[in-house]
């Protein structure tokens, strides 16, 4: 990976961390434990930066290697808030995840334009092109769903599960690089972990 592409992954990570922390900022209830929105079990994910600022609370760190390489950590708070975070928090997380998928799709375009097989850039392959298009359409659609006030927790959970699957298909475009923590896979796995905690609790049946 060239330095320019590496820095583009860092930008995606930074955007995701910022969106996660902003969601906490906007949705945390006054006086809530550590200034964090907690999910089921009293767990919370936030950027290292935000967690450091909330250190007066007794938070037990939960080791999450992949999230940590994205600059996000998980803690457990003894004085937890409600079991399910507010729908607004869920919406914001879903938008942040969709945004990351869209950004990784654009990153794939840059990456695959510079990689060749049989003398042609990988980006010239129709299979690759449609995979990028699918990912961008899914990201836009998910963000559109998250913006709808009618979308309840079950709709958000279902949209999250679709986004997880779509993100994984997208990562395959990077081949082995998609399995590295410091590549685009790291940030999408982090978004999966965060969404699993805060969004996936609602299931029909």
């Amino acid at each position: 990976m060239t330095t320019a592409l590496g820095s583009s992954v860092e930008r995606i990570r930074e955007r995701y961390r910022l969106a996660l922390d902003t969601a906490h900022e906007a949705c945390v209830e006054g006086g809530a434990a550590g200034g964090l929105v907690t999910g089921p079990g009293g767990y919370a994910y936030a950027s290292h930066r935000r967690l450091a600022a909330c250190s007066r609370w007794i938070a037990v760190p939960i080791r999450q290697l992949v999230a940590e390489s994205t600059g996000v950590a998980c803690v457990r708070l003894p004085a937890a808030g409600p079991e399910q975070p507010s729908p607004e928090f869920g919406r914001r997380l879903l938008v942040a995840h969709a945004d990351a998928v869209g950004a990784v799709a654009r990153h794939a375009v840059d990456d695959l334009a510079g990689r060749t097989a049989e003398g042609r850039p990988l980006l010239a392959r129709q299979l690759v092109q449609v995979a990028v298009a699918d990912a961008v359409m899914l990201a836009n659609e998910t963000a559109g769903i998250a913006a709808q006030p009618e979308a309840d927790a079950i709709v958000l959970a279902t949209a999250f599960h679709r986004l997880v699957r779509g993100g994984r298909v997208l990562l395959r475009l990077f081949g082995g690089a998609g399995f590295l923590r410091d590549g685009p896979g790291g940030v999408l796995v982090t978004a999966e972990l965060v969404g699993t905690l805060y969004l996936s609790g609602h299931r029909d049946g």
Partner: protein, 383 residues
Amino acid sequence: MVDLETVEKHAIDVAAELRGPDLVLDADPDTVAAHLDLPALRLHQATMIPPAHTEQPYRIDGKAVVGGSCLVQTVVTERLSYGDPGLVLVAPGPSLSGVVLDGLGDAAQQQAFYRRFTQRFTGPTWTFFALTEHGKGSAAAELETTLLPAADPGHFTLHGTKRYIGNGAHAQVGVVFARRAPGPFGIEAVLVDATAPGLTADLLPTIGLTGARIAQLTFDGLLVGPDMILGRTRRPSRRGLLGAREALHFYRPLLAARAIGVADAVLDHVRDARGWLPAAGQAQLDTLRARIRYTRDRVRAAASAVDAGSPPQHDIAAGKLGASRLAEEATLLAVELLGPTTLLEDPWLAKAYRDVRAFEIMDGVGDLHRLQVFQGVLRGVAR
């Protein structure tokens, strides 16, 4: 000689001992040395060594397990992966390099290679198979690692970088594919001693399968003598890349078996953790089980065909792709069914959730396998 059914039952028994060490190894790959005496790892290694090179066979009820068969390895790999796919990957043994040696090596090369695994006092030997370069994994014929002529006639120096190499960070020996001349037939398979000067291994930070210590290997002038070039007396079209292709055909059913073993284990894990499930969840689980049974049969049939000398490429591709997707779907479903804190409170499932993502990438990406199935349809041979 022990029959396949007995080997399978034995593999199921010994796989149970892999639970526990798997998590320790995930946290610290260097602890692998403490687990090398596990029967599961010894059985695994024994299935990889062809009878001609077996000194002390692994015995079940006094009968010898015969190594070298793709079907036996497929069955054993699946059942051991039910215990843990990471430990199986990280285990010492000839692995893919052995398959290349079997296909291309001359008698002296094979003997020297396998002696490492049969001499009891030399300690465990890990191997690597170094084909992939960044962005050239699927386009192996275009690889750029180079053999340059050295001062001594017939000798070369090796230059270039290989990426995502399993066991690359601690193997003692491995096969490297490198270019001696332009074109696909200008590629050689070279058996290198990883402790020789001119090789640096750097661990890559992977999302899962941490125990396998995936590495980047940089060759900077490692000296290659004529005896290190595999199949050097064959025609260029009958060595080099052909060895990689044949080894991968042999290996893909094993990789599929790994994915099936994990998928199966994940579904049992959900059953044990949840007991009762809502009807919709139970139906999803039952459907995955049915797909696992189907894929297992297909993969084993393909492995038998490999042993018979006629690898059905489209079937192997379909089996490998189907199995890797099953493993991913099983972990995703498990997390949906077991609830939002599962990935934080259930380390075994959290590990499987990360590990299985590798299967579709390893050994050639899914899109290329889909294209191979299409080729089978075109030729009228794909079912």
